[in-house]
Amino acid sequence: MKQEHPALADIFNKDEARVDWHDKTLWWVRAKRDIAVKQIAEWELLRETASRIKDNVLSNLSNYLLQFEANAIKNGIQIHWAADATEHNKIVREILNKHGITRMVKSKSMLTEECHLNEYLMENGVEVIDSDLGERIVQLANEPPSHIVLPCIHKKKEEIGELFHEHLNTPKGNADPQFLTEAARQHLREVFLTRKAALTGVNFAIAETGEFVVCTNEGNADMGAHLADVHIASMGFEKIIPQRKHLGVFLRLLARSATGQPITTYSSHFSKPRKNSVMHIIIVDNGRSQQLGKEAFRNSLKCIRCGACMNTCPVYRRSGGHSYHTAISGPIGSILAPNLDMEKYADLPFASTLCGSCSNVCPVKIDIHDQLYKWRQVIVKNGHAPWLKNASMKVMDITLSSPTKYKLAGKIGKAVMKWTPFVVNNGMNPWYKHREMPQVPAYSFGEWYKKNRGQNDE
């Protein structure tokens, strides 16, 4: 059965205490972002500059990619191009095969989530261990991440304690974050020291120098990459920025927007492979070049994956990342996913109040809520709107296009609300959830106007 956001959000909402915690915790992260941002007098100038650098990038991408490729090759890095997820996964497997490697450690990469790399490699006999703590937790739980920066924000520490007890032999009932983090540190140190291949994501790739930058707080990307013989870095082609000095702008924005930190603990610049080791970069399209061609939606490619739009979103905070049934959840995910499969993700642009908070916190000024609104129109025009919405829109269209029908509908509506409220107050009408409808007025404005027109109109 097709999974849709409202039904999946219902599942998350069954545990009210958890929803409240999730809502408050993400709002707290948003509040930390605000404190960090207010310390920077030129914050708005930073956002504007970042957005304009990305405008330049999108308008000159093919040249920048060629420049990046040439410089990276000069630095001794091998470059691969993947048109889609399947090709990306195949390239990873071929690199591992060539080196006879069957066990790999991976740091956070939303692109590999998008490509379902882990599932593919496991089917092909390669063991993958995610090394970011949150990602390791959801991997042990056999779940996808629910947030791009805080992968297991939907989980309570007791559940994590239970998972660690089962998989890492920690004592039953111990759910202390400090203790569990230490257990993961010990477990993953052994992994880092023994894996011959490491895959990392890419936060920024610099055309001018052919280097790429990976940001983490945990140090897991560095531990993996510096200890492995083979380092594979996967990037969507929109990660390109023109020059090294532009990192100054993006690194000031990224962590402050994400968690309210002034910068991530590590911002590592990989330029050349280590002695006796190899470095591969896979540049992935997977629908991005099509998105680039859509004027109304191309700005979504500016995204630097900070997650600020998720933390601030009233719908995300109360419905959880898994209700978006796509690798990148929240407002930004809702404008990226329909580009990949409009029918499958037709529900996502409707999972928003269009309040605009996402656009206001976006460090690269993506017009997220405008794009959500535009996607709704494209989706309805293409006949992919949820059936209930389609049916009610048709009724509305018929009613609003004829004054006679409109007046009649108003009368019927008032009568229905007064005498048979159950006709509207039912499961078909989501507006009735957790709400009481207002008192029905005795007459409509039209009726009032007709009656009173004469009195002031001398």
């Binding site: 048109a83 297991c152 983090t181 945990e218 702008v249 910068i263 590590y266 061609g293 191309r298």
Partner: protein, 197 residues
Amino acid sequence: MSNNSRNIILDAISKNQPTYVDLPALSFTSTENIDLKQAFENKLNSIGGKVISINSLADVRTYIIENLDANSRIISSIVEIGDIAELITPETRLHYPLENIEHAIIEGQIGVAENSAIWVTERLIIDRVLPFICQHLYIVLKANSIVELMHEAYEKIDNDNYGFGTFIAGPSKTADIEQSLVIGAHGARSLIVFLLI
């Protein structure tokens, strides 16, 4: 196969990318009369690191002798204290095993006051994994190498042809379990910056 994809991707991008837009100028103003050393120290304290002011490398030597367990493995890439630590040079590099490295003392190149990040390149750490795999990290930084903003740091880095470089800001950390901050994720558990006045 992938070469074919390369051309298809690049063609699609060329066809779909919008009309060329110029790059914006980067013009950001630094704070007047800012005490860079104090600002750096305040920021580092707020993210779990610590500053110790020193007058010379002799003070680092004294600190090591007085505070670190002589039986633990102490690695340094700084020649001047090579006699009280295991010195690594481009020739010697790190000796295995790596998992028992307790302390690493390295030199930092640039400090950034706005976020207390320290720029370190492969030339200074010799082995890329050293500042990550050690349990405790110590960075010697000249106070006069502190700038206020990231933009100034990149001006200093300029077109340096490093193989690897990283900004390190504080000890490794995570808040992945219920947003509870835990210091000491996969990298170093603590960071002390010896600020050379």
